[in-house]
Symmetry: C2
Subunit: 308 residues, 2 copies
């Protein structure tokens, strides 16, 4: 696996390994000081959801944004772990039979298939809660204000007006609560909430961890929003064109449910052009940083061009 990869891909993998090791430690069966017990089945389901898989793109954005701004410490890694735990919980709940009803995720059975619905609901709840524990628990070199602001931003990005709200709009777009034809503006709003908000916050979180200026934070947020929009269009193109084997999950589900995507309204070529435009917008937001922004620019290109 280590051969014929680009330096960017090697860096992505290195960060993923750091994240994976910390997640393994967080999800140990051994109770921490002050804990009564860690139920074995719950911990196993949480590990199933959070370990051994994924590019760890969100922590990569947080960690590389912080690094660009001069911070390589614990604060950035904490931010990255927190956004990844929120991402992992959201996959577990979205896959439930009552929601998107998916059996396969990253080529493995989804948590409710490997365990059961109750365990999956609770594992998701516990991963979400753990995200906020990681973001806020005392750390030697991370001031309380930084930890609190990270957690508040994470909550806004992932809650009722962010990721959870976006999933609600996505279910509504299937027509399960009445007819619903989505205009292009509605699709963009839904996507900005469902996937965009957490991706955008991941980059912003790096700036918060680095205790950067409001101007830096705004630039990273603009970068993250453009990357997030590109990510979702790339996802819609993959859902239409890739095979289930390459993706490790079911494909064509959105079209099957009559959900509108930007591929419908723009066509495949139009969607590709829009994706390219967003990658350039992401890069433009980072222009003030010059060559220091190279890794994040590559992350935007990688996001748009990914095959899985």
């Amino acid at each position: 696996m280590a051969h014929d990869t680009t330096p960017f891909e090697a860096r992505l993998r290195t960060v993923a390994e750091i994240v994976e090791r910390r997640l393994e430690a967080l999800l140990s069966d051994t109770p921490r000081a002050g804990e009564i017990a860690r139920p074995a089945r719950l911990m196993a389901a949480m590990r199933h959801a959070a370990l051994a898989g994924g590019k760890r793109l969100r922590p990569f954005l947080a960690i590389e944004a912080a690094r660009m701004l001069g911070c390589e410490g614990e604060a950035a890694l904490r931010a990255g772990l927190a956004v990844e735990l929120v991402h992992c919980y959201s996959l577990v709940h979205d896959d439930l039979p009552a929601m998107d009803d998916d059996d396969l995720r990253r080529g493995k059975p989804t948590v409710h298939k490997a365990y059961d619905d109750a365990t999956a609901i609770l594992a998701g709840d516990a991963l979400l809660t753990l995200a906020f524990e990681v973001a806020t628990e005392p750390a030697d070199d991370v001031p309380g204000e930084v930890r609190a602001v990270l957690a508040a931003g994470l909550a806004r990005a992932s809650g009722l007006a962010g990721m959870v709200g976006g999933q609600m709009l996505d279910l509504a777009a299937e027509g399960r609560w009445g007819p619903r034809a989505l205009a292009q503006a509605d699709i963009r709003e839904l996507q900005a909430m469902k996937t965009g908000a957490l991706l955008a916050f991941s980059a912003q979180a790096g700036a918060i961890a680095a205790q950067a200026s409001p101007e830096d934070e705004a630039r990273l947020l603009a970068y993250g929003r453009a990357l997030g929009a590109a990510f979702q269009i790339a996802d819609d193109i993959l859902d239409r064109e890739a095979t289930a084997e390459a993706l490790g999950k079911a494909v064509g589900k959105d079209a099957g449910k009559g959900k509108g995507t930007l591929v419908d309204t723009l066509g495949i070529d139009g969607a590709r052009a829009e994706c390219d435009r967003l990658v350039e917008a992401a890069a433009a937001a980072l222009a003030p940083y010059g060559a220091r922004a190279e890794v994040l620019e590559q992350a935007a290109r990688f996001t748009a061009a990914r095959k899985a």
Copy 2:
């Protein structure tokens, strides 16, 4: 309703009204600055879960503990709102068909009955996320360290080794993943996690909000743990003896599922005696505060003697 109540009950109601008003504002359909949209069905389900019901015992403990320690500001109210939002989310998820499968809660249809399972899962997720937003978002007179420590404590009390872990042990105690006979020690551990941890943290949160000494915080935690254990025994006695009409939810469910409770191992009279002993232990933990602890002592007695 306002006549023939004790001063304690009047105070409990006053705090409940303050909490209710703040929850109404938090759960408004109107997006806050920076929010893209608040999906109407999601907000309605969240309001169904969080408004118009409940004694608001947890915020009462946080607010009264802080008041006893000299803090009457926003920090204590924030702590109270955060623990209440976690409590409300946990009821929504626990009531789901995959979990305890309850149709009735406080005399109203549960969220998944009034809406549907997907909406209930997402409303719970959003309430949990909102709890951490409330705990951590910037406030003029609440230092970042206080907000971060409140959120970290809330996460530990409500996560994998706290409330969520306790619900997992409770489902296991039904025997759904294999035979499981609970010894008295197991029941106490389960209850300390499932209901005790959040109640205990509620009192502790008041001390954190008040920026009290570690000794004060430890006393409030000890008080909260005893109160939490008394609460659960009182709940088990009510489940055995009350009517569904008085409780506003189904009764006798634990016995029906063969779950062990302390009423089984101690008998009704033994359980009542244990409950009384715990109330005295709660009061004893607050002895250093003398008359200032009167409201919290009454809260412990109220918890043990409640009829619903």
